[in-house]
Symmetry: C2
Subunit: 361 residues, 2 copies
Amino acid sequence: MVTKDLGLKEIIEGISQTDGEWVEKARQRTAQLVMPTRALGRLHDISEQLCGICKTLEPSINSKAILVMAGDHGVVDEGVSAYPQVITGEMVRAFLMGGAGINVLARLVDAEVWVVDMGIIPELDPASLDRGDRLLIRKVGRGTSNFAKGPAMTRHDAEKAILTGFQLATDLFEKGVEILGTGDMGIGNTTPSAAIGTVLTGREVEEMVGRGTGVDDQGLLRKQEAIRKGIRVNQPDSEDGADVLSKIGGFEIGGIAGCVLAGAYHSRPVVLDGFISTAGALVAHAICPAVVDYVFAGHRSEEPGHMAMLRHLGLEPILDLGMRLGEGTGGALAMGIMEGAVRIFQDMLTFEEAGVTDKES
Amino acid sequence: MVTKDLGLKEIIEGISQTDGEWVEKARQRTAQLVMPTRALGRLHDISEQLCGICKTLEPSINSKAILVMAGDHGVVDEGVSAYPQVITGEMVRAFLMGGAGINVLARLVDAEVWVVDMGIIPELDPASLDRGDRLLIRKVGRGTSNFAKGPAMTRHDAEKAILTGFQLATDLFEKGVEILGTGDMGIGNTTPSAAIGTVLTGREVEEMVGRGTGVDDQGLLRKQEAIRKGIRVNQPDSEDGADVLSKIGGFEIGGIAGCVLAGAYHSRPVVLDGFISTAGALVAHAICPAVVDYVFAGHRSEEPGHMAMLRHLGLEPILDLGMRLGEGTGGALAMGIMEGAVRIFQDMLTFEEAGVTDKES
């Protein structure tokens, strides 16, 4: 089966909640494993959710991939980032060199890494770059517009970003990828993410804004002010995910939203990284609330607004290690834990197989 | 070098704090890596602590082992466990079959598993068991005495248990093991662990006692009562770790204390599992406070008293997944995260190598 050129409406119609019957069957197996009742805690929740997603008692997440979505942001003109914008493109090159954080952690868990130009400013030529075949050019634009002064992108481009992410993830799933991690690169992108979080969770701007890559107190105030202006000027409609994305979002955030929709559409698990990935998931959730059944929160980011976003989605982070790098690093690391959960579910003996007396005996 | 037959006094004299100079050198390398300042949070703390422990900027934890220490407990006569005592020996057999939780998670992180009979009731014959070469018989006794009525073991046996653990870990380190995880098996052993926690942290019995493998409300009260009686009857001296172990401890807990001392003595990292392992670490810490520099807390156990123990030791758990199985499972899973920390430290490019503009440029 090859899925091509679906529209948002068809995608939404193709998504339903996961199958509670498979989760229940999985819980029955867990209860037989040779240990006190559910003694490995979250590991059981993870494996059973995977059974529900994949409709099987033999879930496999061996084949892993991470899509690192890159984009630039006009809102950096408001002085919201500690690092210069040129770094977005430089980091894309570093990903291809295999030497960035996400490359290292993806190798650890045996996940392939694909880098996507969703809309960075520089024009990179994959043919002229080492390992350029890992770079997918899907430019929706050369950076967004400054959302403090008007919409970040058109409605058309917002939908295009989402559908592009959907198609990229679809291609991976149809090639056999069993679990997808979302990653991001984009100088300034904690600002649109915090703006999306503010609008879609209904929390205060002050709660949602953190220091990103490390702005000082003045930078923090500038971020808050840019978001307030952006919301006032653009009046994003919190009932309409694509509208929110177009008004105050980013191209890579739209791509991530598309990945989340694709996981739900194809019944495959998607692991979020941190703050930016979760902003993408918020957009996907606003478009189709059932997506949350297919999503895992890889970790709790240091960004203070992240937990409010996760709570809005009903997600509990797997790891909490004070990380705030992005790129997909938290999701990659969490895949190792999820692999452990699957192995426990599949490989642990039952009380009967192990010849061990059960509590009730 | 072969270390043999040391006494506690010689071990203590051989332990010093880790080298702050190596930690500082490691921090300088972290600062050059291509990411915002310390953006991978705890991963940097972990890799830098390993540099301090091993006195190198190239720490390796490739060669991993887990010692699962098993013992039986006379205090089960007080009705403190939801499972029958026969399970201790049955689970030892399950470990050898390779089908218990610790086997599955140890395979995930490529750690070897050794099972030690530190003092279970049944007499197992390794020669007659499949994969019996993985079972080390180091029986200090056939189960402890009921500490609610008198000392769990003699002072001599307490020291023997600690020195046995020390020697087992020493043998592994001298064979090339680079990181050791501690594990436990012993029906009833959350009760002596909570008793040790109460005496050595100075907290109330109610705070330290949880449901272990799953006792009901009555069982919880029986555990509290057994511990109160044990402390009243035996008067353990909180300044004397071996005294505490002898009065209200367990053979496997002593073995774990010995592992912790061995890590510090040989400058090798030791990863604790949960509640029982941390009780062992408390005993080791009472004997020699400098051991904490060499110890990592693999995870936060569901046992409510665990955090108080960790705080007493100044340790922050790596994982928090609602686990409460023991066996070394939390430590094994955490080794995967630690491996990630080491790879980030070693394999990530610097700003200069990656050709990326640094903040200060």
